[in-house]
Amino acid sequence: MAAVTSIEQAGAQAPTPTAGSPGRWRTFPYWRWVILLLAGAYFLIPLYAALRFAGVRAFPDIFKQSGFFSAIGLSLRLAVITTIFTLVLMVPTTVYVHLRLPQIRRLMEAVTILPIVIPPIVLIIGVLKVAPRFLLGTPYLLALVYVILAMPFAYRSLDAGLRSFDLRTMVEASNSLGAGWPSTLWRVVLPNISTSILSATVLTVALVLGEFTMASLALYVTFPVWIVQFEQNSGPVSVAASLLALFVTWILLMLIVAIGGRSARRRGGSQVALFTVTRQDFSQTVGEPE
């Protein structure tokens, strides 16, 4: 969803005419509005129903429930640890693949899609069987599994970002001007994929905050697990907590769109191109001819 929204935003700001130029909105046919309204209703009515069921007074009650803070604390810690692991692992890897091993990019795409194909329940049971003892019961075990789950999203965001500019030439230009690897990565590569990194971060955070199966099977009381457990005590508060989680995630996504849009305005071409590539990327994964 975030990526789609960003395409519209970026397209509207593009200096050159693209498919998403502002003129399109003037000729927006009425039947599209109908579809938009129907889709909106489809999403909003359940939310409204949940809100009615929970009632506004249930929200302050969330914070008074036993286990709430430890659950949300664990989820946030997991989000931070997973994001750091994911970025530290994936950023250098994708940069390295782009620069030195471009021929294995297809393979990387295939490998990184595996966590989506393999059911989470299979993954976690396997992990629990082989995990070393010192990791069992620590958040790091779950975080390591989440790194694998986040890999498809992180890899695709970063890959699209690195394809949106001439990485090789930038790196060589930086080298020739006297910058070693650390400076090149920090001052040249990272600033130009900042939106991708942000998008990888938000996707990872959203994934960690919403994951239930693995946490529950590995006996961690994360926020989603707590919601389900708590449902037996108080239905309305549990639903209110779900809504809260939804809004927090939604605000995070809006944040990335806003920040991405701002850097697009500042730097123009490259950021817009980033989103265009993202869109191509999606069409490739569903198997359209290139």
């Binding site: 060589e172 001007l177 600033p191 730097r267 123009g268």
Partner: protein, 370 residues
């Protein structure tokens, strides 16, 4: 010249930089070879560049010219051979410590930085202080005439402006060697011409030793002190532009540089060749190893032509080029050639006119018949 003066005060660190500060350093590529799989990109290339000299490497795509430049830059390693600058072997020094400014074929400005920050990047990597760096970067931008673009981001500039900023960025570090990798090929013709002159003027003013890679012979001939023509990883000839044009060492150089006619002829021994009914001497030893049937290579301005009923050719076309007119002539045996004539003379030769084409007595190049 202010730049040079500033260079003197700023170049403090390193004996290397002190030696080369501002002024060009001599470069020696010795016996370089490089394979990519089964492909021989470079095959024993040797080239010396004098301090302050601009040498262009010219050749068709895949001839190894870019590989040579990238080895000098430190982006590729040679399989064998050595690279030295200022008499010191730099083969093992990484690109980041070679002090070479490079301008790339594709736009290479950092998209996240303004023109000014791009130019200042190399100075920043050399730990120069902010204020000093800004002043110096502004000076360089002024030198390429882009002071008003200092605060713009690359995407807000035209292609020509971006390449000028890239040039300023490369020169800002007072490179010992300037490397130009087809920097003009992405630009349109008019901008290309302007930038060509600007690069050459700056290079001469700063006296920076420069290696310039191009596939555009006009660019190479108009900018370089010497031009090296490459073919299949080897240098065919290195010479001044005029010498390259007037006395090409091989048939490949002759045909690659400028326009060349091929006229069928027969060798008479190893020193003479008969063509167009006359016998003329062969230039150098180009005839060695060839069979009797050869092609004689002659430039359009190297042929004589007169209107003559019953001559050996018929005018098929004329192209007016200003003071001269290029006349296309069809010889017997379906051989089409081009002859340059003063436009006043060519006026009498309309298409269909019968003409007599002949060789003057000067030595000619010969090549295997095609």
């Amino acid at each position: 010249m202010t730049t040079r003066a500033a260079a003197g005060t700023e170049a403090t660190e390193g004996a290397v930089r002190a030696a080369g500060a501002g002024a060009g350093a001599p470069v020696a590529l010795t016996n370089l070879s490089r394979h990519f799989g089964a492909v021989r990109a470079l095959d024993g290339l040797s080239l010396d560049i004098a301090p302050g000299e601009l040498v262009a490497l010219l050749g068709p795509s895949g001839c190894g010219k870019t590989t040579a430049l990238r080895i000098l830059a430190g982006f590729e390693a040679a399989d064998t051979g050595s690279v030295s600058v200022d008499g010191r072997d730099i083969s093992r020094i990484p690109a980041a410590r070679r002090d070479m400014g490079m301008v790339f074929q594709s736009y290479s400005l950092f998209p996240n930085m303004t023109a000014l920050d791009n130019v200042g990047f190399g100075l920043r990597m050399r730990k120069q202080r902010g204020s000093e760096r800004g002043r110096r970067a502004a000076e360089l931008l002024d030198m390429v005439g882009l002071t008003d673009q200092a605060r713009k981001y690359p995407h807000q500039m035209s292609g020509g402006q971006q390449q000028r900023v890239a040039l300023a960025r490369a020169l800002a570090i007072e490179p010992r060697v300037l490397l130009l990798d087809e920097p003009l090929s992405a630009l349109d013709a008019k901008v290309r011409l302007q930038l060509r002159e600007q690069i050459r003027a700056l290079q001469q003013r700063l006296g920076t030793t420069t290696l310039f890679v191009t596939h555009d012979q006009e660019e190479a001939l108009s900018m370089a002190d010497r031009v090296g023509v490459m073919k299949e990883g080897k240098l065919e000839q290195v010479a001044q532009p005029s010498q390259l044009y007037d006395q090409p060492a091989t048939a490949f150089v002759a045909e690659f540089v400028g326009t060349m006619n091929r006229i069928p002829g027969e060798l008479q021994g190893s020193d003479d060749v008969s063509a167009l009914g006359t016998v003329v001497p062969v230039h150098g030893d180009t005839a060695s190893g060839l069979s009797v049937d050869v092609d004689v290579l002659v430039r359009p301005e190297g042929l004589e032509i007169i209107a003559a009923p019953g001559g050996n050719g018929i005018v098929t076309n004329k192209t007016f080029l200003g003071s001269v007119t290029r006349v296309s002539v069809l010889l017997s045996g379906d051989v089409s050639i081009k002859v340059d004539q003063p436009s006043s003379v060519a006026a009498a030769m309309s298409p269909g006119t019968s003409v007599q084409v002949s060789l003057p007595g000067t030595p000619v190049l010969v090549a295997e018949r095609r």
